[in-house]
């Protein structure tokens, strides 16, 4: 009944219970900007099935937090996934310090629903900061399936513009920096407004800091352009068990880890999301200044 190969595919590699291979190996770690790194991690089961819009939850080792990270890319053949991590606190800083050959105890996924992608027409993909890594797999797949893609990429300075070359290889690209050191000076919303004024656009996808996504939604709403944002609330399990990732969408409580992370932007209560992200601000300060633990 069961064939050997079907079964083997399920219990083989990446299996932390196999002696000597505990954990998920870091294949490489490249620094993309001052605080952003690109890690390639061996996680064959995830790599085999993940789709744009999905994420993993990683836990570095005993005592570490479970944190969500978008799957920026994958290579099913090599059995690897790519995550782009901005070091903002304790857990992300510990992760970007890993070297090739190091192991991460737990990588679970792919989590979340795949993106709802349009298959024709024109899409604008707007990314702020590390949101570029969230938007990249979406934009690329859109281009692959025949949608016309315009990418608006925002960053503080030229140094922190992420994935510009990759985007440019398949999409029209507008870069904006706060200081004008790359592309045009100004906010992504300014560039977006210009694009929307001159082009007929079917959908806008946006990922980045909450104020940026909120601002994008404010631009597109009066124009009646469908807009999809990738939300980033605090998560624990990623399976719908804790409710910590709850967000209010169209007045209804939704769990971002299972119902999202993408939602219709015009329905999202961004103020609540931004506020709830600050729940542990004090604790985070303690964590990042606490040095007595030997592990990190």
């Amino acid at each position: 009944m069961t064939t050997e190969s079907e079964h083997a595919a399920m219990t083989e590699d990446g299996d932390p219970s196999v002696a000597g291979t505990a954990g998920y190996e870091v294949i490489s770690n490249a620094k993309l900007s001052a605080d952003v790194h690109r890690l390639v991690i061996r996680a064959p089961r995830v790599a085999a099935v993940r789709q744009p819009g999905q994420f993993v939850i990683v836990r570095l080792g005993p005592g570490a937090e479970r944190i969500p990270l978008t799957i920026a890319d994958s290579d099913a053949e090599q059995g690897s996934i790519v995550v782009v991590i901005q070091a903002v606190g304790k857990s992300t800083s510990d992760l970007v310090r890993l070297a090739a050959g190091d192991r991460i105890d737990d990588v679970v996924g792919p989590l979340g629903r795949p993106s709802d992608l349009i298959t024709s027409g024109t899409a604008v993909c707007v990314a702020g900061g590390v949101g570029a890594a969230v938007i990249y797999p979406i934009a690329r797949r859109l281009a692959e399936i025949g949608t016309e893609v315009i990418t608006v990429l925002g960053a503080r300075t030229s140094e922190s513009v992420l994935y510009a070359e990759e985007f440019a290889s398949f999409a029209e690209l507008v870069v904006c920096t706060d200081d004008g050191s790359a592309g045009r000076a100004g906010l992504v919303t300014d560039a977006l407004r210009e694009v929307l004024a001159t082009r007929s656009v079917d959908v806008v996808y946006a990922a980045g800091p909450v104020p940026m996504m909120s601002a994008v939604a404010a631009v597109t709403k009066p124009l009646g352009i469908r807009t999809i944002v990738s939300l980033n609330p605090i998560m624990v399990d990623g399976t719908g068990m804790c409710g910590g990732c709850r967000v209010t969408v169209d007045g209804v409580m939704r769990f971002a880890c299972v119902d999202g992370p993408e939602f219709e932007a015009h329905d999202v209560d961004f103020a609540e999301l931004a506020d709830r992200l600050g729940t542990y601000r004090e604790s985070e300060l303690t964590a990042s200044t606490h040095v007595c633990r030997g592990s990190a």
Binding site: M1, T2, T3, E4, E6, H7, A9, M10, T11, D15, P16, S17, R45, V46, V49, R59, G63, A64, E65, R66, K90, S91, D105, D106, V107, V108, G109, P110, L111, V236, D237, G238, T239, G240, M241, C242, G243, G244, R246, T248, M253, V258, D269, E272, D275, R276, G278, T279, Y280, S283, E284, T286, A287, H290, C292, R293
Partner: protein, 480 residues
């Protein structure tokens, strides 16, 4: 307390003169500062003395009160005789996780409720004795390696809670090749992420998990069925699948203020503390808010676990707000009692209306209204009716919502052919099989939120029918 000399058979009258032995506990004052287990366990002497109380009834009603029909008179008699190894053997025959059930079964509604001694006085402390033997066995009994002929049949178990763990153990003992897929990074289900350390130390759960692995069960954590693999893929890769994913979706109240900072579901609160060790923050990385005034809404085991956790995290005031009255609280009586000793306060017949917050959107209080019980409705239940003018605000900085859980649609929504009840639970026939051939289900995902022992009973019973099923359906042994 009468101490009865051993060595000769006691008369019934002598047995009846012995008082029920009390479980030694950690001092309540010391407790609220530690997550160490509250119950310290019987000594050998206490266990043997308690065992002497049992009348070894011919028609042992206690056994009928136990969902897995543990042979209580026999194992208690073996304790009385000081033959703990034999008692362990008896116990393990019917119950694969006695160290767990001895600690968390609602004995007062099950085995002990049916003990004849309970009619006039206190029933035999069956749970405490069960725990005693299981703990003794951990230090003394080493299971011989399995000598069973492998059958070549492969079975997948989804979810490593008590239901899945029990089924996996039984199936391995039948010689099948069993793989458990678990979404979290540690097995145990609610035993690991929900029930706190002070009631059920995680070491005990992990010891049981180790026993399964010694039997050859593969446990693969970090696999979410419905995401990493689909149920259909498992059906192709295995001869049968047992679904025991629990009912872990938290229910909120739907009242204003649930998005404020300082509001948790009990699942999140307990998961942060138990699974992620937030009590050790910043030694562990996961934080939890350490409220000074914590209000927990609900009256079950989950609520009581959360409120006692709050005390241990340093809350000056930790209260239960429950819409019915004390006798209706579904939590284990022992835990309610422990909570009282630990200084937990209770507000009965109170219904929450809204969670209030300040300008920075931090919780400041729970607005609620007192209720009285009305006339029985068509279902015979007396619904709480608000008492006009009794609205008030209970000041607090943290609110934990513990009003129940539902079926999580993560797995089922990825398998549209699977038959569900209108509330999203799985439908299984008397063999435990769902409408999909070869897919079985048990535990909370079928029963709704129930108990550890019922999930285990399902696991054990359905492992039996799975065994029959795979032996009948997959005739050839897959070539190696």
């Amino acid at each position: 307390m009468t101490d009865v000399a051993r060595g000769e058979e006691l008369t019934k009258r002598e047995r009846l003169t012995i008082d029920r032995q009390e479980m030694p506990t950690r001092d309540p004052g010391e407790r609220s500062g530690t997550f160490a287990e509250v119950n310290l366990g019987f000594t050998e002497r206490l266990a043997m003395l308690e065992a002497q109380r049992c009348l070894a009834c011919k028609r042992a009603t206690c056994v009928e009160g136990c969902p897995v029909m543990v042979d209580i008179p026999t194992f208690v008699r073996q304790i009385e005789d000081g033959d703990f190894a034999a008692a362990a053997e008896t116990l393990f025959r019917d119950n694969t996780l006695p160290a767990v059930t001895g600690r968390v079964c609602p004995q007062e509604h099950q085995c002990e409720a049916e003990c004849v001694l309970g009619r006039k006085g206190a029933p035999v402390a069956i749970g405490h004795l069960e725990r005693f033997i299981a703990d003794w066995a951990r230090g003394h009994v080493h299971e011989p390696p399995l000598t069973i002929e492998p059958t070549g049949r492969r079975i997948a178990v989804i979810g490593a809670g008590p239901g899945g763990l029990t089924a996996a153990g039984e199936l391995a003992r039948h010689g099948h090749d069993v793989t458990i897929y678990e979404a979290l990074h540690t097995p145990g289900g609610v035993l690991t992420y929900g029930i706190p350390e002070f009631r059920l130390p995680n070491d005990i759960v992990q010891h049981e998990v180790g026993r399964l692995q010694a039997l050859g069960v593969h446990i693969e954590c970090n696999v979410v069925i419905g995401r990493t693999y689909t149920l259909d893929e498992l059906r192709k890769g295995f001869d049968a699948v047992f679904v025991s994913v629990g009912a872990g979706l938290p229910v909120f109240l739907g009242i204003p203020g649930e998005g404020l900072k300082g509001v948790y579901s009990a699942n999140e609160y307990l998961t942060r503390v138990n699974l992620m060790q937030a009590y050790a923050f910043p030694e562990a990385d996961t934080p939890v808010l350490q409220g000074e005034h914590v209000v927990v809404i609900g009256g079950g085991n989950v609520a009581v676990d959360a409120v006692r956790t709050a005390r241990r995290l340093g809350a000056q005031r930790a209260s239960i707000v429950y819409r019915r009255s004390r006798p209706e609280m579904p939590a284990r009586v022992e835990e309610i009692h422990h909570a009282e000793q630990e200084g937990v306060t209770f507000e009965f017949q109170v219904s929450p209306l809204a969670i209030e917050g300040n300008a920075d959107r931090w919780v400041t209080g729970l607005r609620c209204i007192d209720t009285k019980l009305g006339e029985p409705d068509s279902s015979g239940r007396r619904a709480p009716i608000p008492i006009e003018g009794s609205e008030r605000v209970i000041p607090c900085d943290t609110v934990v919502v513990a009003v129940g859980t539902r079926a999580n649609p993560l797995l089922t929504s990825s398998s549209p052919d699977l038959a569900l009840t209108n509330r999203g639970y799985l439908v299984a026939d008397e063999r435990g099989m769902t409408n999909l051939p070869g897919v079985f289900a048990g535990g909370d995902i079928v029963r709704g939120s129930a108990t550890v022992i019922l999930a285990m009973a399902d696991g054990k019973r359905i492992a039996g029918t799975i065994d029959e099923y795979v032996r009948a359906t997959s005739v050839e042994v897959t070539p190696r």
